[in-house]
């Protein structure tokens, strides 16, 4: 065993853990992290979800990890390990992408930020931090660059929702209007210089994510100032519960659910983030073969037409009651006020409008295939 392999400690806490507890947050363990699932004192999950859709919500997402790749061949290395085309990124731009196994299945999905001509920042998932870093480090070995795990350096706060822009603008000298969706800048936030401010998020809403130093005092100060600045917008602190329902309405994949080490890019429907024409990358050859062979299952959106809520892992049946697939994520959707789900089924069951059933407590409950994303934010008239 190599001594430099990173392992996962027992239960982790973000720098804001004590703050969440003081706010009376309901805490849960998520991927080895002790995280707020909702804040009952300010209204709870549904109120939080609606705040993000209509006003603003503030999330502690410091459990997300960060990997910096820098050096003369940082671009080549990033191209090699990720499926999107990082060469298309300008400095200051970000893209959704994924790290793949040679089988064309997912190590993780990531957001790649181009910090400089030869410097990239990969934002990765909490549950896959160590796996991702070990994988990245091993796979960039042949390139003249370094991979650094910066996961513990940042407190990452997401400010999401139509008023997120106005809220954050009160706390920064950076001109946020000049930062387009999936671009980022550096600026002073709450008096802290050179803070990474990215117009990204996981809510299917406009919003920003800021990366501040991870010490507890600074983290708590920034968190409190953000919430204070949010008061005039009725912004709410939001937990992982709302984060999950928001991303589900927007059909944003969650590792271990819609994507995993046994699901490939075509099945997950992430084709437009996979640039086969850019040249070699890990997983490309297998994806080429998989595409020629055709997919056996595909990710669909379901809406329940009968009473019942589809949950993760429930079986999907055809009209005759024959099992055809399974639910990857399912919930009541607080903004749409419907019971929705994402599921894997064979292409023959994936046509829009196809009536299917979800097995709930032994009973087939009616559902139908609907277009995704379930929710799309309204386009702003600028």
């Amino acid at each position: 065993m190599s001594s430099s392999v990173e392992t996962t400690p027992a239960v982790r806490k973000t720098a804001l853990n004590a703050v969440h507890r003081r706010m009376g947050a309901k805490m849960v363990e998520f991927n080895g992290w002790d995280m707020p699932v909702e804040y009952p004192a300010t209204g709870g999950l549904i109120a939080e979800h609606l705040a993000v859709r209509t006003r603003a919500g503030v999330f502690d997402v410091s459990h997300m990890g960060d990997i910096r790749i820098a050096g003369p061949q940082a671009l080549e290395a990033t191209q090699h390990i990720s499926m999107n085309d990082a060469s298309r990124l300008a400095v200051g731009q970000a893209q959704y992408s994924a790290l793949l196994y040679p089988q064309g299945t997912f190590v993780d999905d990531v957001i790649v930020h181009r910090l400089g001509e030869r410097e990239f920042l990969l934002v990765i998932n909490a549950g896959t931090r160590e796996k991702d870093f070990n994988w990245v480090r091993d796979n960039v070995r042949g390139f003249d660059c370094t991979a650094q795990n910066l996961s513990d350096d940042f407190t990452q706060i997401a400010i999401q929702g139509p008023q997120g822009h106005a809220l954050l603008q009160k706390l920064t000298s950076a001109d946020l209007a000049a930062v387009k969706f999936y671009w980022f800048t550096h600026g002073t936030v709450c008096g802290l210089k050179n803070i990474l401010i990215a117009r990204t998020g996981y809510t299917a809403e406009d919003g920003f994510e800021i990366y501040v130093p991870a010490d507890e005092a600074t983290s708590a100060r920034v968190w409190n100032e953000v919430l204070e600045a949010g008061k005039e917008f009725n912004a709410l602190p939001c937990g992982l519960g709302a984060r999950n329902t928001l991303r589900l309405e927007g059909r944003l994949p969650l590792y271990g659910h819609e994507i995993s080490d046994s699901i490939n890019v075509w099945e997950a429907g992430l084709d437009r983030f996979c640039k086969m024409e850019k040249g070699e990358f890990v997983g490309r050859a297998a994806l080429e073969r998989a595409r020629a062979a055709g997919v056996k299952r595909t990710l669909i959106g379901l809406e329940m037409v009968e009473r019942g809520i589809a949950r993760d892992g429930y079986k999907v049946q055809d009209q005759a009651g024959q099992e055809v697939g399974y639910v990857t994520s399912g919930s009541y959707a607080p903004f749409l006020k419907k019971n929705i789900a994402l599921a894997y089924v064979p292409p023959r069951s994936a046509e829009m409008g196809t009536p299917l059933k979800v097995e709930i407590r032994g009973q087939g409950v009616g559902a139908k295939v609907v277009p995704t994303p379930f929710y799309k934010r309204p386009k702003k008239n600028l």
């Binding site: 999950l45 519960g241 009473r307 809520i309 607080p334």
Partner: protein, 128 residues
């Protein structure tokens, strides 16, 4: 938080209020608090036979699915249909939002359940 003294309680967080040979059943304030926003309730039909301690339905919040357990045996005589369309009423008034009414098989079964004071102690331990 006030747990009515004239109710009895289960360790699974149901309440039952007996009135002679009939009873009303719901879930406690503590239960709705730990579930969070309730969005779905599945209840038995009138005429269903329930046995004490056995599941008689389901309550779901956005995050969680939870079984409902019968505090006592008996026959369902009435079901609160309001909860099918407005399950959030349980969040706003758990002790006022009854789920089912029962014709009790044996009213003495209730003697085995927790009093308001005992239930409050039980909950305090559970949250610890």
């Amino acid at each position: 938080m006030a747990y009515p003294k004239n109710f009895k309680y289960t360790k699974e967080h149901e309440w039952i209020k007996a009135d002679g040979g009939t009873a009303t059943v719901g879930i406690t304030t503590y239960a709705q608090e730990s579930l969070g926003d309730i969005v779905f309730v599945e209840l038995p039909k009138v005429g269903a036979e329930l046995s004490a301690g056995k599941s008689f339905g389901t309550v779901e919040s956005v995050k969680a699915v939870s079984d409902l357990y019968a505090p006592a045996s008996g026959t369902v005589t009435e079901v609160n249909q309001d909860l099918a369309t407005a399950p959030e009423k349980i969040n706003s008034d758990a002790h006022g939002s009854w789920m089912i009414k029962l014709k009790l098989k044996d009213p003495k079964e209730l003697n085995a359940l927790l009093s308001a004071d005992d239930y409050e102690k039980f909950v305090a331990e559970e949250t610890h």
